[in-house]
Symmetry: C2
């Protein structure tokens, strides 16, 4: 049944959850779809429609219970659990990812790092062991991981994605500047600031008086 | 007229351009929407429809001229120019952004960095001067910038976004874990790996045999 929920709806739920968590920190106990929408530049109708996929929330004219809706969204998204993450690639970007402090408080724990540089293998980065990339497959079979983060160069990325998927991983966070191919039952999210900027220049280009 | 092009279409164009550039590097001169679609996990019909917003490309049954379509997409998106970028925030994340080598080859040049830490102000990072955040507004009025990258903590981000927009910037790349409010004529893209992972756990949670 839930199979028919559009991916764009699923992608908005973490944004709602984050806003609700911020409201809860501010001491708010109830929020209307109007107020929540204004915080997020989403229409109230959109919020109500998105949430309607998962049941009935809030009372007519009363708004949503902040903590109640937050708990429900966390349950829907699986944010009430710990998720095991591995990182492949320990170049400059991989290093920044390994040292990023924002994953663990949200339940995403990097349990292993893989790199092919002998100078890195065997080290600890942010208290996580760096393994030889050659050990990726055997490690993952013995230590199942939920999410794989790919931070290798573009030319090596598809092969890494394939190895992660073959080892049973069903969620890939890809930082390499390419579009990985995966089977339909594998989720992929691409993090690419260059693509993000390239999708904005269309608009600022149009806004210029010269029209060029 | 082009005002009616859906944002999702614009967001796919840089992905097409990147794939075409890779094909050109491989020596390919012609590509069908079928082949391009397979590379990108997009249907051929979707590609043809997206491109149809901008005119007629390719010949029936002959496919697209790789370099011709690439040049056209680069012109549409404004990728054939240089864009001036400023970075606000030089914490661990800002440092990684400042040192990232992938922006400049794509035409995005970081021309100034702003931070409020006196220990950083006055330094050069990747040959770019670090200014005091207090100078942000006056600097931008004298040195117009096209895109602002926000890499400050969540609690400080909205104020930074407001200052960038007030100084005339119409495109914001936001790394802070919050949803900024901007006027309708300002483009914003959010880079948030935690949200990306949170939107995948819904799917891997469902895939587990326990159904929990």
């Amino acid at each position: 049944m839930t199979l028919e929920i559009p991916e764009v709806v699923i992608n908005r739920l973490p944004v709602y959850a984050r806003a609700l968590a911020a409201l809860a920190l501010d001491g708010e106990t109830v929020v209307s779809s109007q107020t929540l929408g204004e915080r997020l530049d989403v229409t109230p109708a959109q919020i109500r429609k998105d949430l309607s996929y998962f049941g009935r929330f809030g009372k007519q004219g009363r708004g949503y219970n902040v903590l109640g809706l937050l708990a429900k969204l966390r349950e829907i998204l699986g944010l009430d659990r710990k998720w095991r993450v591995c990182l492949v690639g320990l170049g400059r970007l991989g290093q920044a990812i390994a040292e990023y402090g924002g994953f663990e408080p949200q339940g995403f724990q990097i349990v292993a790092i893989f790199d092919s540089d002998p100078a890195s293998v065997g080290k600890l980065v942010n208290a996580v062991h760096v393994h030889d990339s050659a050990e990726l497959d055997s490690f993952l079979r013995q230590n199942p991981v939920d999410i794989g983060i790919v931070a290798v160069p573009a030319h090596a990325a598809q092969q890494v994605v394939d190895r992660l998927v073959n080892a049973g991983i069903r969620a890939i966070l890809n930082y390499a500047p390419m579009t990985p191919h995966v089977a339909r039952d594998v989720a992929v999210r691409n993090i690419d600031p260059v693509l993000a900027m390239q999708s904005m220049t269309f608009y600022i280009k149009k806004a210029e008086p010269s029209g060029k």
